[in-house]
Symmetry: C3
Subunit: 440 residues, 3 copies
């Protein structure tokens, strides 16, 4: 990784550290605080509030949940579990409670993982009114019989679901969708890495002097949020989105992962495989069968958007997933910088991608233009490998886009863009009217 | 294999034992006796007689052959070969003969296999008037010079070709064809296993409270019989048959074999591969190049029916094939029960197969319907793995049938039918108008 | 290889030996001498002259180059490099020169290969006025400081580009293109093997009593010559050529090589793979990415002719390539005979190839026609394996040509042509109207 990505990685890590402690859920103040922080980075970010009870396809926005305090006192009155220490201690969406109860009764409300005895699990109960506490298995086993007191100072009442949207217009109406989620409390890779890397991508996109595509970037609570968003924009999304990326688990520094769209061969799939194939030939490739995040909605039958996931380590493929061990130590500036870089490369490829066609029949005379050496086999003035020029001229036939062409010649698109520019300047290749069926 | 298949296997073996001794040929009393026995099991079986000389495509029904006695007396007048001991001793369709002749002359009419010296081969001469005897190579080598007498008390004269047909109507006009042959004398795997397993399948189909498809089940002499049958029903078969199975060699207990249709990717092929892939992942897969039975006619150019073979050990792939060693010891209740089970599973898959489509956009809320647990990741009331429900909802897009869907999710169709029923009851998926082009 | 190919190989080698010493270039007397020699073998050969300055697509015919003498005198006046010894010594297209210069200055005009110190390299400077000498690296290193004299007695002036064309009409208007080049000086495999094998193929084609296809055979200077030729005949070539072969590097006796067309699945590709797959299962297969000869023009976008290369060892895949080691010792009668044979087989396959269809439904009765034995499994009167007859009847369905059919049944087309003839005679199969889309 180059120095620029490391610097970016460090900035992204700083944002992650700030956002990590907030207690997010699918609704409530934690989400608003998160979006407010992101709006400081991205002033153009628009924040939307959707009323509880609003319907979206098979779903309904639930009551808004907020929490102030939650703890358990042991038989001696000692506070043995406290939400203030770790917001994973409370089952997300726990209803207000203040009860004294035996250990046996309390145990029905406790969650731990025997295989990972020092980690606090992450548990939710969004759609069934319930309460519970999560704790390490070690602590759970140490609890002595007696009367405990469990206090949950929360509210669960009509309110709003909150999400953010940033639309960066481009030259064309074709859109690229970036979607990330903001609904998990203090989890690092499988939550906060997504919004911070997406924020960095947004900042970089804003800084570009020109964009070919329009970028639609959404920060939504997982599942219910993407469903709400799709329900509000389905027609437009289906008409405009040529590629999309669900951004999650982009903070650790292990191998890269590609998770296919449902169709498996959309432009987003081809771009993701092209980019990861060159950045990390040993990347992990998963079919849509292994889905687990908002691609479930974006790729659902009838929605059918060309959305893939590019991750570092996929949710579920690391044992720290959905536990207190998925914390700021699990992610790193290098990991975040790498995640940023992979997605930026995908966007660059989408910006560069087009269908080119030769303007002359047979090979043009490159020597006359000093594009290749006139004696022997050396390069010409532009110092470009003659095979690259020849491959471009041989395969630019108006029937395939540059991603396909690059797969044939086995070079990353970013490595041949200079050669493309020169051949365009020389008038030897030109873009054809974009064939949408080929581009998507 | 479960107990029910073993019990069925034993019943099937009993039928095989009864039918084994009859001297079948492509015409004659042996065929009629066989069909009469099967009609006892399947009273609905219709028996048809087709007159000698009747034309069918490039063929003509030959004269009917019947045989009472056939033997050879050695120079001492001792009966050394007797049709009564084994009906393979006589070349099938031998003309009436009573001659005395030298060993040298006799030898031109003898057939044996040097590589398998204790086995009597099976030889026919349907379309050229001839006579001959088959014997073990060992016996042939022991024959001493001298004058022998060869007697064949047969008739070969205008008569009929006989076949059986059973049509079990279903809810739809789509038809499934089962075809088996009844023309070999005492051969067990490569003859009698076919009609008895087919009879068991017929009995089971009759017992079903409802059938989606119509089942057309034919018991015909091989080659000439299927050609006659096709010539009489070609238009109807081409319009109606969505899948067919040639039933032969289903009695031994070695690995399963799939022999593809000519096209190789019909519904019958997909179902056979789906079923055998789950019943016996090590099953043998043969292209149509390895054909050898009535699929040659059903899949001929211009006939083009979607017919495959599911076998235990394929004709020609076992050394006992077409010899007296392919006898009742070569097949077993377990083998027959397994052959029955594989074909029954194919039929069950065909009955369950349909094209389903989601009724809601995005994932439906399964928790609200108690189809998954509302807290944690456990199953809901119906105790169905949430991944199975999710996979069904993700892939039921109206573009693929359940066999294709099951290949994607790598589960046998019979294992997900409960989940399908529940999602249908909940109104979350529904059948679409059958797209015949997809179904065939 | 059979005796006939060895005899042909010896004749071809004789021609190669005669043509080898001539100093060819892309224009000039060397090309004319070469074509005159070939016209002695092929009196029908038409020779065309194209004036310098004639435009063709992005190119222009350059001035004509001729050379009489070229040498270098060392400081002692000794002739140390002499074009008369080896015409590779002079950089092709060197302008007239007579200068005295220091070793340092001379060195800028010298070309050698350090990795191959005893070989003289082959260098050209067609499109930039320059001069130079090629020598062994060993000799170059032995040169002592002092004043050298370099003399090039050449002319570079308006004239003509010369090429040859032979059109052998066939029954149909479908054309097969053979293209080879005549522009390298004394190089054996990567030059002279091409025209001599092509001449032998032409002679053989002329000798045939009947040809189905028309054969268009061109002897052109590489690149500029094929571009000129295409520019003059593009419309006709696109309408008529069903398959083409660029003939080069067909003289050594190592493995065969196939270099795909740009599309990779044209009739020429299928035929080449079919032939080499049976002649030499270990043949080397290269994608179009590895192109390097006139297929670059014939397969260029917009030209898109179905042209492949069949070679022995591909240019660039042997270290002697483009050096004085690619000489008459590098090629052999066996190598040339093998190259001839591979291409002749391709032509035979193209002549035999057609789409056949059954005339009867179901299998025909072969026994009645004595095409198979009526008793047992032996062959009939024509002694043809019954599986071959059966395969032909099973797969001749009017949807695939014989090359595809042969790939399915894994037999070379030339091995089943007798069976095809017999089935045609019996009226059991017949050609269908050629479906051009299938044939190309």
């Amino acid at each position: 990784m180059n120095q620029s990505n490391i610097n970016i990685g460090e900035e992204i890590y700083k944002w992650a550290s700030d956002l990590f402690p907030m207690c997010r859920s699918i609704t409530g103040q934690g989400v608003r605080e998160t979006l407010t922080y992101l709006k400081n980075i991205l002033p153009e970010l628009a924040i939307f509030e959707v009323e509880s009870g609003t319907k979206a396809f098979d779903w309904e926005v639930p009551d808004e949940w907020n929490i102030r305090e939650a703890y358990i006192l042991d038989p001696d009155g000692k506070k043995i579990i406290d939400f203030r220490n770790n917001n994973l201690h409370i089952v997300n969406y726990s209803v207000p409670t203040d009860v004294s109860l035996s250990l046996e009764e309390l145990d029905k409300h406790l969650y731990s993982i025997s295989e990972r005895p020092n980690a606090i699990p992450y548990v939710t109960s969004y759609y069934e009114r319930n309460w519970g506490f999560c704790l390490t298995h070690k602590q759970r086993q140490s609890l002595q019989p007696g009367i405990y007191r469990a206090v949950v100072d929360s509210t669960l009442a009509p309110g709003f679901l909150t999400y953010g949207e940033l639309v960066l217009p481009g030259r064309d109406k074709t859109e690229v969708l970036l979607s990330t989620y903001i609904c998990h409390p203090s989890l690092a890779n499988n939550e906060i890495s997504g919004p911070v890397v997406t924020a960095a991508l947004s900042k970089w996109l804003i800084s570009l002097s020109e964009r070919k595509h329009t970028y639609r970037i959404v920060f939504v609570p997982e599942t219910i949020g993407s469903i709400i968003y799709i329900s509000r924009h389905l027609k437009h999304l289906k008409e405009s989105v040529i590629a999309g990326f669900n951004v999650t688990c982009v903070g650790d520094d292990m191998a890269y992962t590609y998770l296919a769209s449902r169709h498996g061969s959309t432009l987003a799939d081809r771009v993701a495989r092209h980019v990861l194939g060159h950045l990390d030939p040993g990347y992990v490739s998963h079919p849509f069968l292994k889905r687990g995040s908002d691609e479930r909605q974006y790729c659902a039958p009838g929605v059918d958007l060309p959305v893939v996931s590019i991750m570092r380590t996929r949710y579920g493929d690391y044992p720290e997933y959905h536990t207190s061990d998925d914390n700021l130590d699990f992610i790193s500036p290098e990991g975040l910088g790498g995640g940023f870089n992979a997605l930026r490369c995908c966007i660059e490829v989408l910006e560069l991608n087009e269908i080119l066609v030769n303007t002359v029949l047979c090979e043009p005379q490159l020597g006359r233009r000093d594009l290749i050496s006139n004696i022997g086999y050396g390069p010409g003035k532009a110092d470009i490998d003659r095979r690259v020029l020849s491959h471009l001229l041989a395969y630019c036939d108006g029937s395939k886009d540059l991603v396909e062409l690059c797969e044939i010649i086995n070079l990353p698109l970013w490595d041949i863009s200079k050669a493309i520019d020169i051949l365009k300047e020389e008038g030897l290749i030109e873009a054809t009217t974009v064939n949408r069926s080929k581009m998507t």
